[in-house]
């Protein structure tokens, strides 16, 4: 359903994703793990069309995913969540849900003005659906609350629910448990299982190995932009490359040097700048 063919993404001299190929089948739950800087989020951005690959191709349901039309994968059934939801403070929870749905009459300025009855009926139907989804994540009581005013965990759940408004076939999740308390984490795992049963495949970028272990059918481990393992979660700890990637290979004795380059005057070596101005 969702596939990447030899995808590479470089930023200047840095190769963030290195010749990655993968396939996600219907109703799978696949974990995407790896240490910081391994390219997980970049890969997620590539898969969802938010970034263009330097080379290689991504296909969803036969159609090529193009960053030039980043909104398209979502309409075709490929949706994603964000690690930091940053939901709008001046829109209510219910409004954000509705924005997640496809309301063609309401979205068209002409039809909004000329066919108010149809628009009203369309909206009522979607409000029904939205309230149902909100109820599943225990947010129904907060439907008129400002979305940006929700707690971090609640915002993540809302993001999830909004993404589900269009019944996506694949959902890409960017660190769904980051900043979420343990009890909510368990409920989230339940939600995700239920979502899979509803027919949606999940790709989960995560650091929490316990979460991954309980939930995922299989895992893709990344290191320095390349896939180093594609196995069941319980097989990860037996994989030598994976273990090395996590424990690191830093040489002792090399001093830490911070270099800030920028628009004004080029790089500044903070290390040697002891004098105060």
């Amino acid at each position: 359903m969702l596939s990447a063919h030899d995808v590479t993404r470089s930023f200047g001299g840095l190769t963030a994703v290195n010749h990655v190929s993968l396939e996600i089948g219907p109703r799978e739950i696949v974990g995407l793990v790896g240490p910081n800087g391994s390219g997980k989020t970049t890969l997620l951005n590539l898969l969802s069309g938010f970034l263009a690959p330097t080379s290689g191709e991504i296909r969803f349901d036969g159609t090529a995913v193009s960053a030039r039309r980043a909104w398209q994968p979502s309409r075709l059934g490929l949706r994603r969540s964000f690690q930091l939801p940053k939901l709008p403070a001046r829109m209510s929870v219910l409004e954000v849900m509705l924005a997640g749905g496809r309301l063609p009459a309401g979205a068209s300025p002409w039809r909004s003005l000329l066919t108010p009855g149809r628009v009203r009926r369309e909206e009522a139907a979607f409000i029904g659906k939205a309230m149902g989804l909100l109820a599943e994540v225990d947010l129904a009581g907060l439907a008129d609350h400002p979305a940006g005013g929700l707690s971090g965990g609640q915002q993540k759940l809302l993001g999830l629910a909004a993404a589900l408004m269009d019944d996506p076939a694949v959902l890409l999740l960017d660190e769904p448990t980051a900043g979420v308390n343990p009890s909510l984490r368990r409920r989230m795992a339940d939600h995700l299982r239920r979502i899979r049963e509803g027919g949606t495949a999940l790709v989960i970028v995560e650091h929490d190995m316990g979460f991954i272990g309980d939930l995922c059918d299989r895992c893709l481990a990344l290191d320095k932009g390349a896939v180093i393992a594609n196995c069941r979660p319980d097989e990860l700890s037996g994989n030598q490359q994976v273990v090395e990637a996590y424990l690191g290979r830093r040489r002792p004795g090399v001093p830490l040097r911070v270099v800030a380059g920028g628009a004004v005057g080029g790089a500044v070596d903070i290390r040697t700048n002891g004098a105060r101005a």
Binding site: W71, A99, A105, S112, M131
Partner: protein
């Protein structure tokens, strides 16, 4: 005195339409259009040129709206993913380019002298009666524009715009083509601004390039900021207050016995201070954007 009040009300209605338009673009859509006056001006000049060529004024108004809508569409396609304040600078530059064309192309726009001698509205009426008729027309069109803006804001279109304003990545992730939305709202806003410009020309029977100076855009921005970004009623209230202040300054100046050539400076100072005061003290404006409650529609 009555004539003066009617004048202020008519101008408030005309600029109210321009303010509602800007509110839709900037308040709802988050688009910092600093070239609003160019859209207004295109409508104004179109109406001037076409009525002078013999077209009846309702048709000229529609043509002016169409021309301005087209210009809005063109601006919308400019710099698709520029950050807000950069896009604002681009629109400022575009507006100045439009003004330069108006200033230089004498054959079309009358150059620095502008276009005058336009047929007046309601020639059968006189004085106060004519003013009242003009006010009725302007108020009616303002009401229509405001209702359209309100309606658009309340539907999915408005929702997507507001999401685009707050978090464009999320809007894209939920399947919305934000460039297309941007272009649509600028075209609609353009049509509204063109309507205001056309009315302006018809009311004053004159249009000149001085009407396209950045200060005029700034005036409309003041109305929207004062009334509260994102709020249709606020834009109308802002338009009324700013227009009244702008027209009232000469009287104030007389009351305090200041020399005449200070009028211009005084106006700018007054308007500028209002904007600053609002931005620093009450950034949501006088009438803050309400959080939409969908209660009535819920089962």
């Amino acid at each position: 005195m009555l004539e003066f009040c009617l004048h202020v009300l008519i101008m408030s209605a005309i600029f109210g339409i321009a303010a509602v338009s800007l509110n839709l673009q900037a308040g709802t859509g988050g688009l910092l259009n600093f070239g609003q006056i160019a859209l207004f001006g295109i409508g104004a000049y179109a109406v001037a040129i076409l009525t002078r060529a013999g077209l009846p004024w309702p048709a000229a108004l529609l043509a002016g709206m169409a021309a301005a809508a087209l210009a809005g569409f063109a601006i919308g396609r400019l710099g698709r993913d520029l950050a807000a304040e950069y896009w604002a600078l681009a629109t400022l530059a575009v507006a100045e380019l439009v003004r330069l064309v108006a200033l230089n192309e004498d054959w079309l726009t009358g150059g620095p002298q502008g276009i005058g001698g336009i047929a007046v509205l309601f020639p059968g009426l006189d004085g106060v009666a004519r003013a009242l008729a003009t006010l009725a027309l302007a108020a009616l069109l303002l009401l229509g524009t405001a209702l359209v803006a309100r309606r658009l804001g309340d539907t999915q279109f408005g929702r997507v715009l507001r999401l685009m304003r707050e978090n464009p990545d999320l809007a894209t992730a939920l399947g919305h083509d934000i460039v297309a939305c941007k272009v649509k709202v600028l075209a609609i806003g353009g049509a509204m601004a063109g309507l205001a410009g056309g009315l302006y020309t018809l009311y004053l029977a004159f249009i000149g390039p001085d009407q396209l100076l950045p200060f005029e855009t700034f005036l409309i921005w003041t109305m929207v900021v004062l009334g509260g970004l994102g709020n249709v009623a606020g834009a109308v209230v802002g338009a009324l207050l700013v227009t009244a202040l702008y027209a009232g300054i000469p009287f104030l100046k007389d009351a305090v016995a200041l020399p005449s050539d200070l009028t211009g400076s005084l106006r700018v100072f007054a308007i500028g201070s209002i904007v600053l005061a609002v931005l620093m003290l009450k950034p949501q404006g006088l009438v803050p954007e309400r959080l939409r409650r969908l209660h009535a529609q819920r089962p």
